[in-house]
Symmetry: C2
Subunit: 338 residues, 2 copies
Amino acid sequence: MLSERRLQVLRAIVQDYVGTEEPVGSKALTERHNLGVSPATVRNDMAALEDEGYIAQPHTSAGRIPTDKGYRLFVDKLAGVKPMTAPERRAIQNFLDGAVDLDDVVARTVRLLAQLTRQVAVVQYPSLTRSTVRHVELLSLAPARVMLVLITDTGRVEQRMIDCPAPFGETSLADLRARLNSRVAGRRFTDVPQLVEDLADGFDPEDRGTVSTVLSTLLETLVEENEERLMIGGTANLTRFGHDFPLTIRPVLEALEEQVVLLKLLGETQDPGMTVRIGHENAHEGLNSTSIVSVGYGSGGEAVAKLGVVGPTRMDYPGTMGAVRAVARYVGQILAES
Amino acid sequence: MLSERRLQVLRAIVQDYVGTEEPVGSKALTERHNLGVSPATVRNDMAALEDEGYIAQPHTSAGRIPTDKGYRLFVDKLAGVKPMTAPERRAIQNFLDGAVDLDDVVARTVRLLAQLTRQVAVVQYPSLTRSTVRHVELLSLAPARVMLVLITDTGRVEQRMIDCPAPFGETSLADLRARLNSRVAGRRFTDVPQLVEDLADGFDPEDRGTVSTVLSTLLETLVEENEERLMIGGTANLTRFGHDFPLTIRPVLEALEEQVVLLKLLGETQDPGMTVRIGHENAHEGLNSTSIVSVGYGSGGEAVAKLGVVGPTRMDYPGTMGAVRAVARYVGQILAES
DNA sequence: AACTGGCACTCGTATGCGCCGAGTGCCAAA
DNA sequence: TTTGGCACTCGGCGCATACGAGTGCCAGTT
């Protein structure tokens, strides 16, 4: 087990390195943090920390930098979450309050997160899985062409075009619309399949084909749209990444474009509570030199989606975590209101 | 006026520089292109071209690189548009044919363009301005809460939440829905304002407030949504930009996040025909070292939106223009079909 | 008049060398 | 266990040198 002071040394190293972006040596440490011991002592502690794998030297006779394991310890044991100040909180709320629709809420959230953390922000659109159906609308576009519009309680709208096997009258359509809504409105997505199972039974034989086509399209939409969408912002902040640009930045940009990858990563977010994945803890190779701070958000108690930021492992964890948590909280509020 | 051979020399310089990314000298030129003259002659021509401002030397005693003016001449007079090969065209069509809805069409287009050109692709969502209304739907969510859903002929769906000044019955809602659609369905957006002007007249006095609220929200949607949306992809290709990364890449990333800026740039696209804006021809400062190739696309004759790519001024113009044109053409087809 | 070969010159890049200093590990003393 | 001292390492920086690609100019040729 590491002594109390050694933990303090580790904390000091992380803080200094995050600030200066340069390997930190024993002398500088004792000067900037009053640890009450001499550089020589700190050197011994550093040697011990290095043995344990918490810090490393880029080259012999250079200062130390934290390893992924070091950051992990720092995040778990040594650092708290730095809360936002009152003015910051107010600014967040004001900014988000100006949103006019769901797209706008997400867009503003991304901007805000990117600005607050000066890193890359990722926000997942509120998921359909946990949401409920607010309304299903059917529109007749042509005799044998119907548009299905699905509206969720999070304000999301999905539409699908349906080619019917047979012409479908306005009255049948109205009938189907009414029955459909009476069954599924207000219900959870996951419950919908059972609820509509025998819906076709009440219809004229010649309409049954169309009805079941509509139903299966509805079910498809529910499933397919769980390929959820993301919004990303603040990529310009990647330029603050490090000195060795091209090699570091390229795989990150590539990973960011692979929404599947990001969704998977966000999906691993523990719920409730914030998840911090550091460096090689990220399965995706391109993100091995980044850390991801993510958290679920949602109206009411349940998380309907995730949001987070992607930054260099050398990031200000307490500050970033504070910003992520605060933003998630306020977005949840906004969603609950609308 | 420049002699024929000098133009050939300029063309050769552009081609070589685009290929090698290095300043090109007289000797290398004569070796790689059989101009039929000696390096010394080429040197004279180069001196002349430099006097005219078409090429420049990064440093004394280095080779020449084209200036923005040189690229301009190249694009206008010396290079054609390199058409896609048949297999490429087939691949484009196949890839786009797989799209399931409008979002997917746009997403695939972006991916495709980025891949084909190995640059950053920008695709504007089909604009509302030129489109027509397919259907307007009104849903009652609560006694005094209505959701407005607008469906366009390009498959785009916009929704708005409306708080009514007074409760609004289902029958009134159905009435309004019917009247609204009979007036605006199939009409152009620009015509809608006149068409609905006196629509409130036919309603009960207590409903008029709500009706006019709904109408004004509809009009707002038509206007507001002309703040059109964009999709961007291939940002990882920015890493192939040049050697002097951070300084070049940062402002570009910033500009790409400012959708307003991009929309303005795309808006300047001459219609019909492809627009190429080279280096300083771009008003936005961050894009002074990039070129933008853009073109309108749309179903039928009219362009409903623009798409294009952003790359270094040192880009393969004929190839890029070919790809942009081909993709625009096929996206137009896809839109026309759906 | 246009083209060509030759030549002196420029200058950016690569290479090698020496110095400096931050930082280390180790050891003996407190 | 802590501390001061000391020899050692090694990356970064400055400088001088050599190299070579490329140029401009000029005189000679076609």
